[in-house]
């Protein structure tokens, strides 16, 4: 397999592995936990590194996961005191833990290969050079194998506990009442987020893990209503961001991880604008249609109220609408045009009058009101 293909494969596996727990973070409004955890794993990595002296030891992953769980536990402790809100607790805990990590590196790691740049930013381009061999046989790049294992763990966990995860995501109180131990499941999920973040930080760095965990599920959230479709769509969006990111980075000769995050952002932005029903464009269109519908109703009711009365001469004029209903000129002409098209009114010069259909529509609208 060529290096280019291997990098893309790693990128896709990383993106998919991150998207899976990300779905539940987004649904449970804990997206920022991924940010906190991905930073707070630093001291765990550093301490495990000091003990084992080896960055590729599996202890590093365990140390980092412990760091992640420590964050979750500390945030929970602070929140339970009632003295701090959850967001403030997160905002205080992870910078403190991250600082401990940075200071430990500066104090003791010296010139060992453990710099914060690598932890924060990652470098996917070098991933194919670090390979695992067993008995002389090349098993593939380390990052691919490690992430592959974590992916399998995530898939198994989510399939086995699908019902429970669904329940705690949508109705935590009910989950508790039914005896599903939401707190335990919460910690297991956070443990998975930590392990995933550790596995991914090597390849994409800790800050961009957040992009891969949050952006694809949030995009899917705009497109779907079911949990299963949301997971599938998130995975697809994650994979597409990974491959597209690789090629953008290749073209610009820039950071692959950064480009993957950027592409997930581009996809999010496109979906944000274009998503049917929930996208900005369709929300805007719906609002404008509702305004126009309301405008038509107001217009026919106004004409109906003054119809056949002495003041009709000046009340039922185009320019009067702007004074009486406080419509701006553009909206008034839109409402008139739309009412003409619907055959509700007739126009003779500046004068407006109701048609029979318009009269009926006015009467039924008044009943509605």
């Amino acid at each position: 397999m060529s290096a280019s293909l291997e990098i893309q494969l790693i990128a896709v596996v990383v993106a998919v592995t991150c998207a899976l727990p990300g779905v539940f973070l987004v649904l449970q409004r804990m997206s920022m936990m991924s940010d906190a955890i991905s930073h707070a794993i630093l001291p765990g990595i550093v301490i495990a590194f000091f003990i084992t002296g080896n960055l590729s030891s599996p202890w590093i992953i365990l140390g980092a996961a412990a760091g992640g769980l420590l964050t979750v536990a500390l945030v929970e402790v602070l929140r339970k005191t009632g003295l701090l809100k959850e967001d403030a607790a997160i905002g205080i805990v992870f910078p403190a833990l991250f600082s401990v990590g940075v200071i430990l590196i500066a104090q003791y790691a010296g010139d060992v290969h453990l710099d914060i740049d690598a932890v924060l930013l990652g470098e996917l381009a070098f991933a194919p050079f670090d390979r695992i061999t067993m008995g002389g046989m090349d098993l593939g790049p380390r990052a691919l194998l490690v992430m592959g294992v974590i992916l399998v763990v995530n898939v198994v966990f989510i399939s086995v506990f699908f019902k429970e995860l669904k329940l705690i995501s949508f109705d935590r109180a009910l989950a508790g009442a039914l005896g599903f131990a939401p707190a335990l499941l919460h910690y297991v999920l956070m443990g998975l987020v930590s392990v995933t973040a550790v596995g991914a930080f090597d390849a994409v760095g800790s800050i961009l893990v957040v992009a891969l965990m949050v952006a694809p599920p949030a995009s899917a959230y705009l497109l779907t209503d079911g949990l299963k479709p949301m997971i599938v769509v998130s995975v697809v969006i994650g994979a597409v961001s990974a491959v597209a990111g690789y090629w953008v980075a290749h073209w610009l000769d820039a950071s692959i991880a950064g480009a993957m995050a950027s592409m997930s952002g581009v996809l999010f932005l496109s979906i944000l604008i274009l998503a049917p029903h929930r996208g900005l464009w369709s929300v805007q269109k719906r609002r404008s249609n509702q305004a126009l519908l309301f405008g038509r109703k107001m217009l026919v009711i106004h004409l109906y109220n003054h119809e056949g009365l002495p003041e009709a001469q000046h009340e039922c004029r185009m320019d009067h609408l702007e004074d009486h209903l406080r419509w701006d000129h553009a909206f008034a002409s839109r409402a008139i045009r739309s009412s003409l098209q619907n055959d509700y009114i007739l126009q003779q010069g500046p004068h407006l009058s109701l048609t029979e259909t318009g009269r009926k529509y006015a009467r039924s609208s008044l009943v509605e009101l």
Binding site: S31, D35, A88, I90, I103, Y221, L222, G279
Partner: protein
């Protein structure tokens, strides 16, 4: 200690770094108060990360590394990030936390693409851009401090000018709206001040730790007072103190980076405040709970004794401690509480295990019952 103070006034670098960090602490801390109350504690984190592409673009466009140029770029990018968060959360069903996470990481990723792109340009002298990631307080020079001072003063002046509006915005923005104030505009103004305070701090403490500079001093100050003015003032003091403390500590210990040291000091202040602040602090609360528990136990045993006495001919009739142990609605042996009652002259021991009420005890027990059951009995 004397050496340290002499150094602070004589060593140029140390003085510059300490002054810069102090000014930054004051500015960030004061704004943090509003962020804390508005539950926007993590907005600072998002803005500081979102600023990165602005720094890269400012450099790409101008080729200059002048702090003002880079700060301007950072500010514009951070502001766009904040505005997008607001649009996404108000117009779609994406929640606040997801919006923060996306803007934070996507902007940062984009900034990273630009930075690596710049680094691979053969002629670019890009050194120094990286310092924004982790901050390099030690590299602060007098001009930087002057810039922080000017911008910080403007921020604090604006807070003072819009004090009433910002206060209402933080506590009851709907009410502010009904009074006819433009909520949206004020919200954007406060967010803009936020962005400004963050970007001037990036150079000192860096992207990752800037959010702690905003939120931690305010979270600590919140524990000491219930008044907004005092809280903001205290937050400023805590911010300044950790800035100076971090600068001094890191100057004393070799290879101790300033930014993380500042953050650890401010985190320690938070911890101390959570534990020891009067009224809200955990220790204070524990003591208060313990005292309340003691008072409740005294009342309960008193009422139990009274109940027993009322079933016998006289108040002096001795009652066994064993009976009191099991009858009290408050669990646990009654012995300690009986000793307290004796000290208060409300009960007297007849022998080693039997007790009876004093006349004062009877009166007091009646008052307790009156209070507990109101007018019913």
């Amino acid at each position: 200690m004397i050496d340290l103070l002499t150094n602070l006034f004589s060593d140029y670098t140390l003085r510059t770094v300490a002054l810069g960090s102090a000014l930054l602490g004051i500015t960030a801390g004061s704004l943090g108060g509003f962020a804390l109350l508005r539950r926007q504690s993590l907005l600072g984190d998002a803005i500081s990360h979102a600023a990165l592409p602005g720094i890269a673009i400012a450099f790409l466009l101008t080729g200059s590394k002048a702090p003002l140029v880079l700060i301007l770029g950072a500010g514009i990018a951070g502001w766009i990030g904040a505005a997008l968060i607001s649009v996404v959360t108000t117009q779609t069903r994406i929640k606040y936390d997801s919006a923060l996470g996306i803007m934070l990481s996507v902007f940062f990723g984009f900034g990273l693409v630009l930075l690596t792109y710049i680094q691979r340009q053969p002629d670019a002298n890009q050194a120094g851009l990286n310092s924004f990631l982790f901050g390099q307080a030690a590299a602060l020079i007098e001009q930087d401090v002057f810039l922080i001072f000017v911008i910080g003063s403007v921020v604090i002046l604006l807070i003072a000018l819009f004090w009433k509006e910002f206060k209402l915005l933080s506590f009851d923005s709907d009410f502010l709206g009904t009074l006819g104030y433009p909520i949206r505009t004020l919200d954007y103004l406060l967010t803009t001040l936020f962005v400004v305070a963050i970007v001037i701090g990036l150079q000192t403490v860096g992207v990752v730790l800037m959010s702690a500079m905003i939120i931690a001093p305010a979270a600590a100050a919140r524990q000491w007072t219930d008044r907004l003015g005092l809280m903001i003032f205290l937050a400023g003091i805590f911010g300044a103190f950790s800035g100076v403390g971090g600068a001094l500590t890191s100057s004393l210990i070799p290879a101790l980076p300033t930014g993380p040291t500042i953050v650890l000091i401010v985190s320690a202040i938070v911890l101390i405040s959570l534990l020891f602040a009067p009224n809200r602090g955990l220790v204070f609360r524990r003591v208060r709970d313990w005292q309340a528990g003691k008072r409740l136990r005294v009342d309960a045993v008193l009422v139990d004794l009274y109940t027993l006495a009322s079933q016998h001919s006289s108040a002096e009739y001795p009652h066994s401690e064993r009976v009191l142990d099991v009858m009290s609605s408050i669990s646990g042996p009654a012995h300690q509480t009986l000793k307290v009652l004796k000290d208060l002259d409300l009960a007297i021991p007849i022998d080693s295990t039997h007790w009876s009420l004093t006349p004062e005890g009877v009166l007091r027990a009646e008052r307790v019952i009156e209070r507990q059951f109101g007018g019913d009995s």
